[in-house]
């Protein structure tokens, strides 16, 4: 029983990170119909920023807000440099654009920094454990769950209570109708990228605290998990993305802890099989979304 609770907390910690990434992907998909495969580059950029700031003598206390800010700004810059030009283009064009950005950013880091991974120190409390009601938990998992919840509450508050959030949800449902109401497409799209970038930044902080390294492909795995989580949840559904992330994290942890040692390497494969199975019964994911208009 104790073990199960530990695994659930572990899974929630892992799933929380996926949820933040997936939510960012879902926000962008909602307003632009773009599955942003360049979303992982925000984590790559965050990783190198963290590395660079460590080199400059900063510590985690300052690096955390800096990384979140940098990720948010990078997201807006990528929109400005690349996605702005393909707004309203067929979905496939935007998809290819996102792949293009992914490879360009990766190549830039290989060319101008290094193809090798660079290490930086992880926070010293990262593997500490704490005993609650006789069960020991990783402090890190608890921190992730707490800050993920805080971030999600903040994000949903913005989406539900501010004019920006309400306009963004309106635009996600029917962009033309929103423009007819006076919603400015530039602001909404830029805002969506900023929000998505900040969410990626928060996720990146957790991801990097655990991995402690920066490399040109650092963003690849988190991006894939995020896309997967968004798909499971129902692409475009914001609540679904969070649900999908948490479910993915939980399933991974359950598999890793239950599979015989020789088969742990197959975890991802089994996860994909499970997802394929899910899509047979619910092709639209957990939560189906009303028809969304493109920009």
């Amino acid at each position: 029983m104790n073990e199960l609770i530990q695994q659930i907390v572990d899974g929630l910690g892992r799933g929380g990170i996926y949820a933040l990434i997936a939510l960012g992907i879902a926000v962008i998909f909602g307003v632009m119909h773009l599955v942003n495969f360049a979303h992982g580059e925000l984590i790559t950029v965050s990783a190198y920023s963290a590395y660079g700031l460590f080199q400059a003598g900063w510590n985690w206390w300052f690096i955390v807000p800096a990384v979140i800010l940098i990720a948010g700004m990078t997201s807006v810059v990528i929109e400005f440099l690349a996605f702005r030009w393909v707004r309203g283009a067929p979905d496939f064009t935007m998809l290819m654009t996102s792949f293009g950005i992914h490879f360009v950013v990766q190549a830039l880091f290989v060319m101008y920094v290094s193809a090798n991974f660079r290490q930086f120190p992880r926070p010293d409390w990262i593997f500490n454990t704490v005993k609650i009601a006789g069960i020991s938990f990783e402090v890190f998992d608890i921190a992730v769950i707490f800050f993920t919840l805080l971030t999600l509450i903040g994000t949903f508050w913005i989406l539900q209570k501010t004019m920006f959030g309400i306009s963004l949800r309106a635009a996600a449902e029917d962009f033309d109708a929103a423009r007819l109401m006076g919603v400015r497409s530039d602001r909404i799209i830029r805002g969506a990228f900023a929000l998505s970038g900040v969410l990626a930044g928060v996720a990146a902080v957790f991801w990097l605290m655990r991995s402690g390294q920066a490399g040109p492909t650092a963003g690849l795995t988190p991006m894939l998990k995020g896309v997967l989580a968004a798909l499971i949840g129902g692409l475009g559904s914001l609540g679904g993305a969070v649900l999908g992330g948490v479910a993915l994290g939980l399933v991974e942890v359950m598999l890793i802890s239950r599979l015989p040692e020789g088969l742990v390497g197959l975890t991802d494969g089994i996860v994909f099989l499970l997802i394929a199975f899910l899509f047979v019964f619910r092709p639209q994911g957990f939560i189906s979304v009303r028809r969304a208009e493109r920009v």
Binding site: M163, I166, S167, R169, A170, E173, D174, D176, A177, A178, R179, L180, M181, G182, V183, R184, S185, R290
Partner: protein
């Protein structure tokens, strides 16, 4: 107030509008009638910026607004209640109204929302309902209320009574009458030609992308030949 001159809009190689001209004066209620496919919706979409014309001009309060973005046109004071309403079904009634007022100050937005609720009491009762669950009549009221939230100088309505039961359609016509009495300038596209002509000051008849006849409502309504030739039988029975 609104001047449209020789407007031509194409979908690919097909001209949906050919050399269309019309004008709406301040405080006027003008209707646009004609059979399906005549180009009425295309005309409203072009005026409000959803479509770009290949030639011609749209002037609003003596300013050239041709090919402006829809949000900029809205900000200049021209609002559209689009065909099929296009309310935001995932948003609550309250949120739909707020989006309608996205261009005005937050204080004014709340004031105006109260006014709209007074005008449409049923919306007030369902503020926290997701708009996707509204009935057709309620949704239409929301679409109109949402458009009024921007305090438009002119309101364009694309078939506001479409798909409504006759009793509810009548509510819409009453409402148009009421807006007219409040001095609201209106340009209304409507299938039910006779009924809208009873409410409007003037009318334009469109067919195959062009305006074929225009005149005062009284004059148009008395011309039986007009209904037979251009409008067909849809004028008395509403779909």
């Amino acid at each position: 107030m609104l001047e449209v001159e020789s407007l031509t809009t194409r979908y690919g190689s097909i001209s949906a509008l050919r050399d269309v001209g019309l004008s709406v004066g301040s405080g006027e209620v003008v209707c646009l009638i004609g059979p399906n496919g005549a180009g009425k919706t295309t005309l409203l979409s072009t005026i409000s910026g959803l479509l770009n014309p290949v030639s011609g001009s749209v002037k609003f309060e003596n300013e050239e607004i041709t090919s402006w973005a829809p949000d900029r046109i809205l900000r200049s004071g021209l609002a559209l209640v689009p065909e099929h309403r296009r309310i935001f079904g995932d948003l609550t009634v309250d949120e739909n109204l707020l989006v309608g007022g996205v261009t005005i100050s937050s204080g004014r937005r709340l004031e105006l929302k109260e006014e709209i609720i007074t005008l449409f009491p049923v919306l007030g009762e369902k503020l926290s309902t997701e708009a996707g669950y509204l009935s057709g009549g309620e949704a239409q009221q929301l679409a109109i209320g949402r458009a009024l939230m921007s305090e438009p100088k002119i309101l364009l309505m694309d078939e506001p009574a479409l798909g409504l039961a006759p009793v509810l359609a009548e509510v819409v016509f009453e409402l148009i009458n009421q807006l007219r009495q409040n001095g609201q300038t209106l340009l209304v596209v409507e299938q039910n030609a006779r009924r809208i002509l009873e409410v409007a000051d003037r009318g334009y008849v469109m067919r195959s992308g062009s305006i074929v006849i225009s005149g005062d409502s009284n004059e148009l309504i008395s011309r039986d030949d007009l209904f037979e030739t251009y409008i067909g039988k849809t004028d008395t029975t509403h779909e």
